[in-house]
Symmetry: C2
Subunit: 93 residues, 2 copies
């Protein structure tokens, strides 16, 4: 294996460790978000709101686009948050 | 509107602010992750690896399940990270 090849492999391994750390932080935040969603779900019957709120979903998409500094595009984030919101709605708790 | 109803509405508004803050943190982390993914993508030709690496994807799923403390289930996180990985592969940069 050439030195250059070896050095690229080491760099990839290093960046993958960084990604693993980021992923654990993402998992923590997603769980924190899920807890907040469950707290709202409990309060909704008191205010006679349905579980699905399309206006609030549009607010969420507008908000994430606003705090996005890239390199991901707003559409990429929308895809990811679409899944986050779907999973939230289907949460079995 | 009853006092109880008013108080539930205020609580929901407060929790939604917390969710908005979490979402901005998620956006920051997802972008940090995307930058790391792009850095690896640049290095891959030097080590003659393809862009798609199913073994690494399984490592990622195992890792997120390991650092998960709930309330989300491993399957919920797998759904979300499936989208994150798909978006990463399709990133137009």
């Amino acid at each position: 294996m050439s030195d250059e090849n070896q050095s690229a492999r080491e760099k990839i391994a290093e960046i993958r460790e960084t990604i693993d750390e980021i992923d654990c932080q993402l998992v923590r935040l997603l769980n924190k978000r899920a807890k907040s969603t469950l707290a709202i779900r409990k309060l909704k019957p008191q205010v006679q709101w349905g579980l699905y709120d399309p206006k609030r979903e549009e607010e969420i998409f507008a908000h994430i686009a606003q705090c996005n500094e890239g390199p991901l595009f707003a559409d990429d984030l929308r895809d990811i948050f679409d899944t986050v919101l779907r999973v939230s709605k289907e949460m079995r708790v």
